[in-house]
Symmetry: C5
Subunit: 155 residues, 5 copies
């Protein structure tokens, strides 16, 4: 049975893991979820590394909401580099779902974006884990998780 890790934070302003779990349950069965909540996004890389090494997860979705200030952007950059390194060390995918607080005009829009992006990336995770050929069919389609797709340049 495949093990799916969900790493999330207390810093985020939405319970993103709950959304991810709901989307997983709506789409697949016969897998195990292991959830790991940490304080902030810079704690996610080692949380994911531990989920791979100690909990034997096959894939992870890492969920976070970086704040709007320059220091928050820097934290997100550091977290992303750590997540990439963790993947290289473990040869497994971590789907990073970061929603920056200033990506939306108001709280309602932001909550909507968080939910949508999380759900769409859960579908990516499912494809990567169970059906990677599905992604080949979508290659170059200008997909944008949580927002309107940019679409293909040639259509």
């Amino acid at each position: 049975m495949k093990k799916i890790g969900i790493a999330d934070t207390t810093f985020a302003r939405v319970d993103m893991a709950k959304i991810a779990i709901n989307e997983l349950e709506s789409n697949i069965s016969g897998y195990k979820i292991i959830r790991y909540t940490v304080p902030g996004i810079k704690d996610l890389p080692v949380a994911c590394k531990k989920l791979f090494d100690e909990k034997e997860c096959d894939i992870i979705i890492a969920l976070g909401m970086p704040g709007p200030k320059p220091i928050d952007k820097q934290c997100a950059h550091e977290a992303s580099l750590g997540l990439i390194n963790a993947q290289l060390l473990c040869n497994k995918h971590i789907i990073e779902v970061f929603v920056h607080e200033n990506e939306a005009n108001n709280n309602k829009e932001l909550a909507w974006l968080v939910e949508n992006r999380t759900r769409e990336h859960v579908l990516n995770l499912i494809d990567l884990l169970f059906n990677p050929k599905n992604l080949i069919k979508k290659a170059g389609k200008g997909l944008r998780e949580g927002l309107k797709d940019a679409g293909s340049l040639l259509e």
Copy 2:
């Protein structure tokens, strides 16, 4: 018995380790503290690596106060990347508590912020080490260590 590492600096303008030790003592017992003071925040990554590898710490809190100049921000960025790498190499958490000198309007406010953030992150450390499920309950609550919580978007 669990070993908790505390790494701090002579550069900081508050004895942050003293605050952390006090907060630990107010909350838990039956653990060992190993303290390691270095000159500046860029010395923290290897200090933490040594605390894990040579002192067998189970978790570390890394305490620092980056200065207000651009070069100080760059140092903090380098230190953070090193702390993330140290965690990935050791599969253990380092709770980074950095308070930037320009986060407050005056020395009194800054000292208050340093104390508050340190104490709140010590509680995170305790949860990570002894009671990780506590963090799941706080997931997505918009927690902000040392400052007013941002709160959940949906409340």
Copy 3:
């Protein structure tokens, strides 16, 4: 028989892998292509690492189209660092073909640039894999994949 990895994304707005495959087929035979599509460019480093370690690819072309916003530039930077690290860990080349959305004035020009750069980098890949001395002949010629060559300073 040599194995050539092609890693691409659903984020890109052109099916870059299709172009790369076409250019490979127009130039060489007696090799195997292994294609791996991921959601975005930050997923490329581990995809390439897996193509090397699990699929035994000898060389990879990594294809992506970073968006026009500052956050997209940061993602491209993170992806590039990850791709360089993956190469260092595996001692094999990954030819990175990134086309930034704001490199062209309109969609038609952008599509043209994507096609041209991809094709010219496929030729680089072929040289690196089968005929590295070809590249020595072109050294210092100011080559620019997808755009007009800058040319030698001394001609």
Copy 4:
């Protein structure tokens, strides 16, 4: 007998190693110095790695003077990241002493700052190597090597 590495550059405009050696000799005895001069600060990380691995140094002081231009700042950033990585790979301290050319108003002031910062960091090195508890006493005191100490916020 402890081995102290000194890594310096031909790019620097002061013979910083000479100052460091003088400060070491004024304070301690019964140790061995191994000096390694490289062209620029980006050559320091591997020089330090070699001092640890091939010369069995116990600690290193890395000395450099980044130039005033943006490209020099970027070089310093790259060098610092490399120095932190070298430390993580070897589990030993490298005290980085960088003096940026634009930290002073004129050459005389700059030379004075280089000398002072180097000497004060040699004292840090001695503490880290022989007497780490000394640093705990200085924790949170707002020390600033080469400049006036910022001091404790609470005094």
Copy 5:
């Protein structure tokens, strides 16, 4: 017999490797050169790693000419970090010779700078490989490869 690696690019607008080879031949004998040309500077790190691991080079000179745009600066930054990491992994020096296109006022001046910096760094490489004590004599002299030396602050 010592093996000297030369890694260069087709992106550069001068055949820098030819200059490096000429300068080596003018100064030393009894060594072997292994040349490796890649498309761009981001391909240099793995090329150097392969020169160390597969061709047993003792030292490498990595030659490149980053373009004038912000994206080119970012590429140079990524390449430099990769070159530093490659050195740390192999415990051998890579002398990076990058000449940025906007370092000179016109093509003639730029070509002159490329030639001069390359030749002066070849001399550094020779010192590092055969006569490291020579560099100690030049420590702190404010040397600037390819440009007028800044000189010592104290003279």
